[in-house]
């Protein structure tokens, strides 16, 4: 799949209004990224043991500054520093993060290390012209363990010009590591907002195939096309021919008819 950078680079910033569904807050992309960093910073800081806060402050300041050196190391270290507990947000925190454009379903499942890692990636993206964010994100992803990779996938929709990460996200959909697949396919607004039809359809059929409830796919209803309906019907027929059960939530697709893409 070709990288989509060329297309996105020519799109002037500021055309998109806030779109909570897609998790994009644009118009001034820089400000929104900074806003997200601040929002996540507040949440993460409250969950640090006192001993870890100094490291967090220092790291975040360094990455937000001109030289984003040490992203990969900090990204890896984050889970040991802040722990891997469920975020367990207060109502106020939850409200603040969703207002910043994060998907509710995603933050409700998030953990402290994941939130910290998303904040670190966003911090690097703040106001650095000429930074090859694509390469940086790809490097953190490729060298990451499964939980690091999940955090990268959870961050994609929030990064500036997110459409440039389609190749990476589509690769994650091909993974046999189920938690990785679910990190992009479930509770994540990225695929519905940015995937071409082929990749989106393959992801949805794989969700059916691996027993993932379709209700976890954000934005599915708006992306149902006649082709996806055809694929879902064929899948039901294949299961029936093999003497196997058909997942009942397939009706979310097959009874929808399908919009023209």
């Amino acid at each position: 799949m070709p990288r989509t950078r060329g297309a996105s680079a020519s799109t002037p910033k500021g055309l998109n209004a806030f779109d909570g569904m897609r998790g994009i807050w644009d118009s001034t992309a820089m400000t929104s990224t900074q806003g997200l960093v601040d929002g996540l910073d507040a949440v993460v800081t409250r969950r640090f043991a006192a001993s870890g806060v100094a490291w967090w402050r220092q790291t975040l300041e360094r990455l937000t500054g001109a030289d984003p050196g040490g992203l990969a190391e900090a990204f890896t270290a984050a889970s040991r520093k802040v722990g891997r507990q469920p975020l367990a947000l207060t109502a106020d925190e939850r409200h603040a993060l969703t207002r910043l454009g994060m998907a509710e379903a995603m933050i409700d499942r998030s953990t402290t290390d994941e939130a910290a890692r998303i904040a670190l990636l966003l911090a690097v993206a703040v106001g650095k012209d000429g930074l090859d964010l694509e390469r940086l994100v790809d490097d953190v992803y490729q060298s990451g363990d499964n939980s690091e990779r999940q955090a990268v996938l959870r961050a994609l929709a929030l990064l500036p010009e997110p459409e440039r990460f389609v190749t990476l996200a589509a690769e994650a959909c091909r993974s046999h590591v189920q938690p990785l697949f679910e990190a992009i396919a479930c509770e994540n607004p990225y695929p519905a907002a940015h995937f071409p039809e082929l990749n989106f359809n393959q992801m949805v059929i794989k969700a059916l195939f691996t027993g993932v409830p379709l209700a976890r796919v954000i934005g599915l209803a708006a992306r149902i096309t006649p082709e996806l309906v055809r694929m879902a019907n064929d899948y039901a027929s294949e299961r029936t021919a093999a003497g196997r059960s058909v997942p009942p939530d397939i009706a979310l697709i097959t009874s929808a008819g399908g919009h023209r893409p």
Binding site: M1, Q142, T167, A170, E171, R174, S175, H176, V177, L198, N199, Q202, I205, K206, F209, M231, D234, Y235, S237, E238, A241, A242, G243
Partner: protein, 300 residues
Amino acid sequence: MRMFDPHIHMTSRTTLDYQAMADAGITAVVEPSFWLGQPRTHVGTFEDYFRGLLGWERFRASQFGIHHYCTLSINPKEANNARVAQGVIDLLPRYLSKDGVVAVGEIGYDDMTAEEDKYFAAQLELAIRFDLPALVHTPHRDKKRGTERTLALVRDVGFPEERVLVDHNTEETLPLVLATACWAGHSIYPFTKMDEARMVALVRKYGAARILVNSAADWGVSDPLKVPKTVAAMREAGIDEAAIETIVWRNPVAFFGQSGKLDAAELEGSTDVDQRQLFEGNSVLRGQTPVVQGARKPGE
């Protein structure tokens, strides 16, 4: 009965599996190159993988009396990986002509992208150039459409159908494949793809001609004894011995024999099991007493 598992990823299995396979009557395997569960990021790791299939893995199999052959390719999933795909295509000519490489494969479709089209066709061209048959994987998702598209591409490229083995068939795809001159493989898996009882029903309905079964065992939930287990199920269902032997021996030998690299006489005998042998200084033994058996002569 001697058996042939024409699709198994031994690299991800242990010597205990080799021993169990040999005990169950498997004397030959084809190991298609495939992906490792997560995408590779360097072309060099493919080259070492190919060398491992031709070297260490072949030796390991021979230590259990099993003839090991392989097929080489960029697999359908990683055809989408721009970091490596073209590099692997450039690497293949160096390895396709080697002894023991009995087809180009597994190639075919996964997501059915434009890249997959491109590398599928390119590798069929390589198979023509190196006078090899092709082992074609069919996708897990959207399988029927994927199979139709596979057969259409084979036709478009002008690749001889009788030199194509279309693998991982189901009730819905087998009639499509048999309507062409291609061969049809079936992967018998514990939970997905195809099971023994369904396979018996397919053999009852379609017979044995151009039909193969394999375990497709790899690092996933899979069973390297699925070929002997399917033989047992077919026997129990009253399918005659000649038909069973066609499916688990004559067909794979005939199909991969088209490479000119399956020596029938060699296959009929067994490999010399001499576990005292070393491969580049390494033994498969971990403190056990080595087994030494003379080669059986054909018909023995």
